[in-house]
């Protein structure tokens, strides 16, 4: 550490001279431990060393030997991410304190301007974020070192610019003021240095018996760095054991391939190439790190213009999933019966395909299912080479193996599905490795247990009492972002560094390595997993050095220059795993299939990871908590989804508290009657039921415990589903707050859906085409005759417009999250949502059609339509919302007096009102999350989608300085940028070649509520379905 790191002006521990030779006029404002609150103290309260945190200033004199925070950060080229260079802060203030004027504002310049930094212009840094061990390349927009926005990395092969909601919401985790700040030993504060010394001593003792009593429990990881560290540890402690645990294990994927091909492999489904897809409870359209690329592939095939036409999707599942919502045909089936279905499908195909001969279903399927199997089988067989069966992670290894067998027989392997060696280090993150550890714990064989998996005490299956087991471990170490359930039962708790705060690496599903680079110094002096593992090694190398050393191998010519390129591009080229063409071992599958037994009858409990908070790791993330569930639209809660038939039979309505009992363990969960849900199963998502820290939400009477914990119902043996569920009504009610209370269109031509036959008969969207001519006057777009003289936009350079392809939209809600992050949209809390005051500018409307037992779903992102004859504008008494010269519907917050007339008169109800001062009590840490390019709205002000006008203006100014026009695709709105299915397009209508112009000209185009002649600039394209006539 000879090279000087970049000390931080407010960092008490970095002040070298005291007393200062010269009395600094504003010394007071630099004093450490200043209470946050005053803008002047902006960004000052959290730079505290441990002792300071514990004993206040009393402990300060001793702080000098303390390793100052950031001491382990890379020496070079790091300064530009020092967010606390307060120029950034003062810039940020611009966004934070809208509508107030302070007498004298301090402006603070850098002492040394980091190279390349232009204050006021954001940087985009490439890094990667990990979900269940699988990394996704992302770009982070940083303002003077504050990351405020996460988007997909266009150069990353899986992301291609898009992400799901969780990855974007990581920011809310980074700036979570309730993150743990203190390294504790049995509750008493310790320093990182102290911990290292303690561990060094311990390691010495452990080394004697080769670390036989040393255990590591980590989450699934694909990081080569972690891998190398584990090897190094294994060398020092040959007998030490590494266990991996995840509440959402992908074991069945690897066990399935192991069963089918002899060794664990990672399947990659090329859905774009498939004409017919069968999903065996595979929710492959949920935009997660491992599936975002599938979204685009699938969506491309939902365009009737695609050269190979529409694909056809069959989904077999117990619940109603995102994928189910996109299906052309759905079959409701218990998870337990999935093996049976797969086998009978194989059997059905076996009639024609020799490869599948000898498969038998353990039990004959029911009428509907049988019909379904026949039709699907026929369809698949007719599309050999372009057919694909995708098994779901929740299903058994056998189901996977059979699916692979079917794919093999259909000639899918190599064409629509390829295989590589798994990118993740741990192919077994569930039962087997878990059980081994638990046995050792029970046997007391463990002296030191290092836990880096997320909160195992919370996610542990109900049949294991982990706290008591951990209590018996003499030296349990836990690394976590929060002081949580696990940290309370271990004797060493280390505050973790967020991925944005530390060096590391990760691999994507198909193997590409991305370097995880820190964008900001650890806000709370967190420690990375690599640092922690490093503590068990003799050498004291820093993660950064290890990383460079590790990846030096990948360099072709000059490592250092290439390294820079990798960092800036976010991917290390040529690291994608090579495809392997495994040979199916059909007989093994057959024999395994032969032992398959018919599933026991009875009600089934289906446990699923949550669409928002996954296994609960995001349960303190207010963005995700408030995000409406893509299907149920429930916020801040998990619910027990029951089918309409079952609900009727039991007389259950939404919000009735149900008692769920499986093999003696029971929990209470509020009921939710879910159209299209199987009547033989109940689906609950886990991860809820944790104490909240009020999440900075305004409303005081918000619940401290959000949702209900269903982990107790889980067993390591059957993590995903179990039959024999008993359901009882408690008779009590529970308040569920949703953003959508009415789920059908009432026959209104709003969200239009048509079958591909109808579409080919008459391509126009049904009954929404406007008169193209009035008399002999050509009417533009969907304009109806009007007495108003039309406004002429032809003089302007641009004519901004948007389009939404409902055929592509899956409703994954990534756009909602992007909008929330980009536009400083506040979180309002459960009860305010219940009162209809949610603020998300994008309302992901979801409509069902057809019978409640087997409905079809349409999702329609609804946001400001920027009507050319906007009804909201002419009713505003103060010109607070008017049209821009380029046709944007401007909302001028500082002019708004809040009559709410505009919202009343908006037929789309896409305006949102600041009923309370949502941003009032934001902590200094949370304020760092604000996008300085967007005004933070005051209380009593209306707001709505602006087409990301701040992006338009920035791009415009750059273009105008360079005296050129903005090119198509150069400018993307936040929602469009992340959309995994490319359902959203934005651009200027003046250029007929832009994607948006073409979509506006698409025959499927229609304007919502066009009969009101609001002339929206945002148009929608009808959803096209491709049903199988046989299933009619």
């Amino acid at each position: 550490m000879t090279t000087p790191r970049f000390p931080l002006p407010v960092l008490g521990s970095s002040a070298p001279v005291d007393p200062p030779a010269v009395e600094l006029p504003d010394e007071a404002s630099f004093a450490p431990g200043r209470t946050p609150g005053s803008e002047h103290g902006y960004g000052r309260s959290y730079w505290r060393s441990v002792e300071e945190q514990l004993h206040g200033d009393a402990a300060l004199p001793g702080r000098d030997q303390e390793f100052p925070p950031g001491a382990f950060d890379a020496p070079k080229g790091f300064a530009r991410r020092d967010f606390l260079q307060l120029m950034g802060a003062s810039v940020a203030l611009a966004g934070l304190t809208a509508c107030t004027e302070k007498p004298v504002e301090k402006i603070l310049a850098y002492t040394k301007t980091p190279e390349g930094m232009v204050p006021g212009n954001p940087f985009h840094y490439a890094t990667a974020l990990v979900q269940d061990g699988i990394g996704l390349g992302v770009l982070s927009t940083s303002w003077e070192g504050r990351p405020v926005k996460v988007e997909g990395n266009p150069t990353h092969p899986v992301s291609r610019g898009s992400t799901g909601p969780q990855v974007q919401a990581e920011l809310a985790c980074l700036y979570d003021p309730f993150r743990a700040r203190v390294l504790k030993e049995r509750g008493a504060g310790r320093s990182w240095r102290g911990f290292r010394e303690a561990m060094r001593g311990r390691a010495g003792a452990l080394e004697k018996d080769g670390g036989a009593r040393l255990r590591f429990l980590s989450g699934p990881s694909s990081s080569p760095l972690i891998g190398s560290l584990r090897q190094a540890i294994a060398q020092r402690f040959p007998k030490a054991r590494f266990h991996a645990w995840s509440a959402t294990p992908r074991d069945s994927v690897y066990d399935g391939t192991a069963l089918a091909f002899g060794r664990p492999l990672e399947p990659h489904y090329l859905v774009e190439k498939a004409d017919v897809l069968v999903s065996l409870d595979a929710d492959f359209l949920e935009a997660r790190n491992d599936t975002v690329d599938l979204n685009l592939g699938f969506a491309n095939r939902r365009e009737p213009h695609h050269p190979r036409g529409l694909n056809r999707l069959y989904v077999v599942e117990p619940r109603f999933s995102i994928t189910g919502g996109m299906a052309d045909h759905r079959l409701k089936l218990r998870s337990a019966d999935m093996e049976g279905f797969a086998l009978s499908l194989a059997a059905e195909l076996g009639k024609t395909l020799p490869g599948l001969s000898g498969f038998r279903s353990p039990a004959p399927l029911g009428g509907e299912a049988a019909k379904f199997v026949a039709a699907v089988g026929k369809d698949l067989a007719s599309k050999r080479g372009a057919a694909l069966v995708i098994p779901g992670e929740r299903q058994t290894a056998l189901t996977h193996a059979v699916a692979h067998a079917i794919n093999a027989a259909l000639g899918a392997i190599g064409t629509t599905v390829t295989f590589t060696e798994p990118a993740v280090l741990d192919t077994s993150t569930g039962r087997s490795s878990w059980q081994a550890l638990v046995d050792d714990l029970r046997a007391g064989k463990v002296d030191t247990l290092v836990i880096t998996a997320w909160n195992p005490v919370f996610t542990a299956p109900g049949d294991v009492d982990l706290p008591t087991l951990l209590a018996k471990v003499p030296n349990a170490v836990y690394l976590g972002l929060h002081d949580d359930e696990t940290s309370r039962v271990v004797n060493w708790f280390l505050p973790a560094a967020h991925p944005f705060e530390s060096w590391g690496d990760a691999r994507s599903r198909e193997g590409t390595v991305s370097i995880v680079q820190p964008l900001i110094q650890p806000l709370f002096g967190g420690i990375s997993e690599a640092e922690l593992l490093g503590a068990f090694l003799a050498d004291e190398a820093k993660p950064y050095d290890r990383l460079k050393a590790l990846h030096a191998a990948h360099a072709k010519t000059d490592f250092d220059s290439e390294w820079e390129v990798w960092l800036s591009n976010g991917v290390v080229p040529g690291t994608a795993s090579a495809a392997v063409t495994p040979s199916l071992q059909g007989d093994r599958v057959r024999t395994a299939a032969g032992q398959a037994r018919p599933a026991p009858a009875g009600l089934e409990l289906d446990l699923v990871h949550d669409y928002k908070i996954l296994d609960g790791r995001y349960s303190l993330n207010s963005w995700l908590q408030e995000l409406p569930d893509p299907i149920t639209k429930v916020t801040w809660d998990n619910v027990a989804q029951v089918g309409p038939g079952l609900a009727k039979k039991m007389g259950v309505a939404n919000g009735d508290l149900l008692l769920l009992t499986v093999s003696g363990r029971s929990v209470e969960v509020p009921a939710w009657v879910q159209p299209g849900h199987s009547d033989d199963a109940v689906t609950v998502s886990f991860g809820y039921g944790r104490r909240q820290n009020t999440l900075g939400v305004k409303d005081a009477d918000e619940p401290v415990v959000v949702g209900h914990d269903v982990y107790p119902l889980r067993t390591a043996a059957a993590p995903w589903f179990a039959t024999g569920l008993e359901l009882k009504k408690t008779g009590r009610k529970y308040t569920i707050c949703t953003t959508q209370v009415h789920n059908v269109t009432e026959g209104r031509p709003i969200a239009l859906m048509q079958s591909v036959e109808e579409f080919e008969k008459h391509p126009e969207a049904p009954d929404v085409r406007p008169p193209v001519k009035l008399g002999n006057k050509e009417l533009e777009g969907s304009a109806l005759p009007s007495v108003q003289p039309a406004i002429d936009y032809s003089k302007q350079q641009y004519k901004w417009a948007m389009s939404v392809d409902m055929s592509r939209c899956t409703g994954c809600s990534a756009c909602v999250m992007a909008c929330q992050a980009e536009n400083n949209i506040p979180v309002v809390g459960k009860y305010q949502v219940g009162r209809g005051r949610e603020m998300q500018w994008i309302r992901m409307d979801r409509y069902y059609s057809g019978p409640a037992e087997s409905p079809e779903m349409v999702t329609q992102p609804m946001f400001c339509q920027h009507c050319e004859t906007a009804p909201c504008e002419y009713v505003c008494p103060v010109n607070a919302t008017v049209h821009s010269d380029e046709g944007l519907n401007d909302m001028v917050y500082n002019r708004c007096i809040g009559t709410r007339y505009c919202s009343n008169n908006c037929p789309y109800k896409v305006r949102h009102f600041n009923y309370l001062h949502w941003t009032q009590d934001k902590t200094q840490v949370e304020k760092m999350l604000m996008n300085p390019d967007v005004t933070v709205r005051a209380r009593g002000v209306m707001e709505k989608c602006t087409y990301c006008v701040q992006r338009i203006e920035r791009t415009r100014i750059v273009a105008r300085i360079e005296n050129r026009a903005i090119g198509d695709g150069e400018l993307k709105t936040a929602c469009q940028q992340v959309c995994p299915t490319n359902a959203l397009t934005f651009g200027s209508l003046h250029d007929p070649k832009t994607q948006v112009s073409q979509r506006h000209a698409d025959p499927r185009r229609f304007d919502v509520l066009h009969e009101l002649n609001t002339r929206p600039r945002t148009v929608y394209l009808t959803k096209i379905k491709n049903p199988n006539p046989e299933l009619g």
Binding site: L24, S90, N121, Q950
Partner: protein, 217 residues
Amino acid sequence: MPLFPRWTNTVSRLSGVLLLALPAVAIAGLMIVVRSTWGTKQERDIVQPIEFDHRHHVGDEGIDCRYCHYTVEKSPYPGLPATTICMSCHAQVWNKSPLLGLVREYYFKDRPIPWNSVHNLPDFVYFNHAIHVNKGVGCVTCHGRVDQMALIQQQAPLSMGWCVSCHRNPEPQLRPVEFITSMTWQPAPGVDREKLGAQLAQQYNVHTRTSCDACHR
């Protein structure tokens, strides 16, 4: 004996007039105040932690604005000089001067100099220096004769009306970009400012917008 003496006639009428006049006067007064230099915070001395004198640096030394405000052409923010920029000269010149004691102190302590901001726009206004400077709006146009200010003062009212007036008719304010930082530039004698402006507007492809979203986001 009458209820009211005679003088009450005058008093009552006067008070009636006052009753009507007072609100009118009050409102008019307010309007005057908000337009006054006091109301707009114009021409107000704002003491800085360090006695930095633009008269000397700009006037006598003739240092170009962009030497210190180095991002003015590429960023919304003009860029406040980093202490290193001060030290780049003052490591050699005046490196013992007590006047610069604080600068050195801040530099060696690696702490930012807490300047007091002079031009404060409301936080919901997004002014972009780069576009103005690139399109020929000179520093002096809004900031005044900085080279004659001991302490920087706000010269322009910075009211929305003031912004809009220029956005509606920018030509008279334009100058060739090569003179963008000049404090003294005047069109050559005989050149009509209006004509020149129009021609520059043509040349730089200036087209100002008065739509709300130009400044409010």
